[in-house]
């Protein structure tokens, strides 16, 4: 049997907001925003969760083939992504719906991949956000290369805050076992690339617990590659924001990469096709439910005098988003195979054109003769 010791993974993390809504201090990190800023983050959390709830329901109604829930990981995603500047760049995974929300992507565009109408959804240049990567960990190398490009272009360490830029790479605990992630950490350190590696340790890679994935806490890997590592309460949006903001600023200042391990929990299944009751106890889930990333912010805001109208308005806004998602999902245009031929290459080939013409002719020849 594996000699797994989950207790070895219980090392301290940065926390600025406790599960019961109390603000606490950290020697090196602080959240400097005012109440309005926290209300803004709270809105992001609530809207991200609504995206997730609606998409889950759409899958159960047969409108989506699959959905990978971000439930429980909203603070890690929103807190980190809101620390990005508009000109920074992010490379997400397929579960980072909160990152897409924070980068201004219409969340209905997340659905196409899972409805089978698209393989992406948006123009990365519009949001400085790459398309979600399904190959585990591959995007950490893309982020590193992009960051190396920023250095080459002189967009790092100039002292001009409008100019200096950084990159964030998202990945999970499972991805840390992939060679690409180790290569990315190594290259980023060697090149002192302006990239932040943001690991959402949600405790499970489908069924495999994080303790079976890595013999040491993930954050400790940073030392071996020669970059700073920070562990943060991944369900604490204020701490995630503070820790990421600091790491991004180091990167923009030309001080190199950082590894952040955000300790969170995947409250839902890996995807809608998964049954987590086969590999984890209900008591464990209940324990994490008590550490919910949204509840604690609400407790804080209520204590600090946010008005009931704010919460009511937000609830109505989330409802409207739900309506938008349901309508947009059902109205998504079906993919046209004939058109897809156009996107295999920038400069189309004769073979490509011939097969396209062959398909179009075949489709025309059977039109009306067979049922769809």
């Amino acid at each position: 049997m594996n000699q797994v010791n989950p207790a070895a993974h219980e090392v301290p993390f940065v926390q600025l907001l406790t599960p019961d809504g109390q603000r606490v201090t950290d020697a090196e990190h602080s959240f400097d925003g005012d109440r309005a800023a926290i209300e803004g983050l709270y809105r992001d959390l609530v809207m991200t969760r609504r995206v997730d709830v609606e998409a889950f329901a759409l899958q159960r109604h047969g409108e989506l083939g699959l959905w990978p829930p971000a439930l429980g990981q909203e603070a890690a995603q929103v807190g980190s992504a809101r620390a990005l500047k508009a000109h920074d760049y992010a490379f997400p995974t397929y579960r980072d719906h909160g990152v897409a929300w924070a980068r201004g992507v219409d969340p209905s565009l997340l659905l196409g991949v899972y409805r089978g109408t698209d393989l992406g959804g948006w123009d990365p240049a519009d949001h400085q956000l790459a398309l979600p990567n399904i190959i585990i960990g591959a995007q950490t190398l893309h982020a590193t290369g992009y960051a190396m490009g920023l250095t080459l272009e002189g967009l790092v360490g100039t002292g001009d805050s409008e100019r200096d830029s950084a990159v964030i790479a998202y990945f999970g605990d499972g991805a840390t076992s992939e060679g690409d992630v180790s290569e990315a950490l190594d290259w980023a350190a060697v090149h002192q690339a302006p990239v932040v590696f943001f690991c959402e340790n949600n405790h499970y890679a489908i069924s495999l617990p994080a303790a079976n994935q890595s013999h040491v806490p993930i954050v400790q890997r940073a030392a071996g590659f020669g970059l700073p590592g920070v562990r943060v309460d991944g369900n604490d949006v204020l701490a995630c924001h503070a820790v990421t903001q600091r790491a991004l600023q180091r990167a923009r200042d030309g001080q190199g990469p950082t590894l952040i391990e955000a300790v969170t929990y995947r409250m839902g299944a890996h995807t809608t096709s998964d049954d987590p009751s086969r590999y984890r106890e209900a008591a464990e889930v209940a324990e994490w439910k008590a550490k919910d990333p949204i509840d604690r912010v609400r407790l804080l805001l209520e204590a600090e005098g946010t008005t009931p109208e704010f919460f009511a308005d937000l609830s109505a806004e989330a409802d409207a988003l739900g309506v938008h998602l349901r309508q947009a999902c059902q109205n998504m245009p079906e993919p046209d195979l004939a058109e897809l031929f156009d996107h295999v290459f920038v400069e189309s080939t004769v073979e490509n054109q011939q097969q396209q013409a062959e398909y179009v002719a075949w489709r025309a020849s059977i039109e009306g003769s067979v049922s769809a």
Partner: protein, 323 residues
């Protein structure tokens, strides 16, 4: 002027870098050393460490970071040190480089060149003599080309770098040190065209990379038997340009495809199928394949038996004509 293929590639890379500041070279030992084959010799000295990067030893990272650089608008030219070292990068090449343009519905471009010295015949140890081009040619979203002589090497590398699509650039390392005339003035043939390199009447011999010279040698030897072989250099493996092949086989009635890569499901199989589709009524014999055998690359003392050579090629010509 006469130069080796190594020098021709080097001068082509230099021109591409002078013409476009977004062109970057990356790979193992490509900087200070100039590459293990010296293809990039002197370029780091002249263009700096930012544009000619000695990379850590990780092929997936070489291609994966090049993807990120391409996202940023650079045109990375990466060197995979040897054919057999490309497999750690296979996932990034197939799942990312080949698919990003498609995944993004044309919004993302991957103008990347992946240079791979390939093929055997140099007495090397295992993993240094392979021919993996077919694995890239069958991957939609990639383009694959191979130069056969210094002139093409000089021009094709520049054309590949100018392509907005990703190009796997197969360099026949066995021909690296052979010299040939390079015309640096004359406008080159388009990158995506195959070419008749020796006109002939009696049979059509189709090859690419190092095998082009072997086939030309075979054609010269066949002259002694009164045979006039046409030799075609494919140059582009994906997309294939079989126009000259079809035109030729319709005249000669016989086709012989030659490559170092293994036979089963190799490029020769696709070319034979296409010739059958296009030249069915002109064929006087089944398309012959002269290839490496379906085995891992052998110890180098046996490679002269494994690689297609003059005798096996001429034997195939005879078999075709005797059919």
């Amino acid at each position: 002027m006469r130069m080796t293929m190594v020098k021709a590639l080097n001068s082509g890379l230099r021109i591409a870098m002078e013409n476009d500041p977004k062109v970057l070279l990356m790979g193992e030992d490509v900087g200070r050393l100039g590459g293990v084959f010296r293809v990039t010799e002197g370029l780091q000295k002249d263009f700096g460490e930012g544009r000619v990067m000695d990379s850590p030893l990780a092929e997936s990272a070489i291609v994966g970071t090049a993807v990120g650089l391409a996202f940023r608008g650079f045109r990375p030219v990466v060197e995979i040190q040897f054919d057999g070292f490309v497999y750690p990068a296979y996932d990034q090449i197939v799942s990312q480089v080949a698919k990003l343009h498609f995944r993004s519905r044309g919004r993302v471009r991957m103008p990347m060149v992946i240079r791979i010295p390939f093929g055997g015949g140099i007495g090397a140890v295992e993993h240094h003599s392979e021919s993996p081009e077919g694995q890239f040619a069958l991957t939609a979203g990639l383009k694959v080309v191979s130069c056969a002589d210094p002139h093409d090497a000089h021009w094709m590398i520049q054309q590949a770098i100018a392509s907005d699509d990703p190009v796997v650039f197969m360099e026949p390392k066995r021909r690296y040190w052979e010299t040939g005339e390079v015309d640096t003035e004359t406008a080159p043939a388009p990158l995506w065209e195959s070419r008749v390199v020796r006109p002939g009447r009696d049979a059509t011999v189709i090859a690419y990379g190092a095998m082009v010279k072997t086939c030309l040698d075979s054609a010269r030897a066949a002259e002694d038997d009164g045979l006039d072989l046409e030799v075609i250099d494919l140059r582009t493996l994906s997309p294939l340009d079989l126009g000259p092949v079809v035109e030729s086989v319709r005249r000669t009635g016989h086709a012989i495809v030659v490559h170092e890569a293994a036979r089963t499901l190799g490029l020769g199989a696709e070319i034979a199928a296409r010739i059958t589709e296009e030249c069915f009524y002109s064929l006087e014999s089944p398309v012959q394949r002269v290839t490496g055998y379906d085995m891992p690359y052998p110890p180098s003392r046996a490679e002269h038996e494994f690689l297609p050579g003059l005798d096996r090629i001429l034997d195939a010509v005879d078999r075709a004509r005797a059919y």
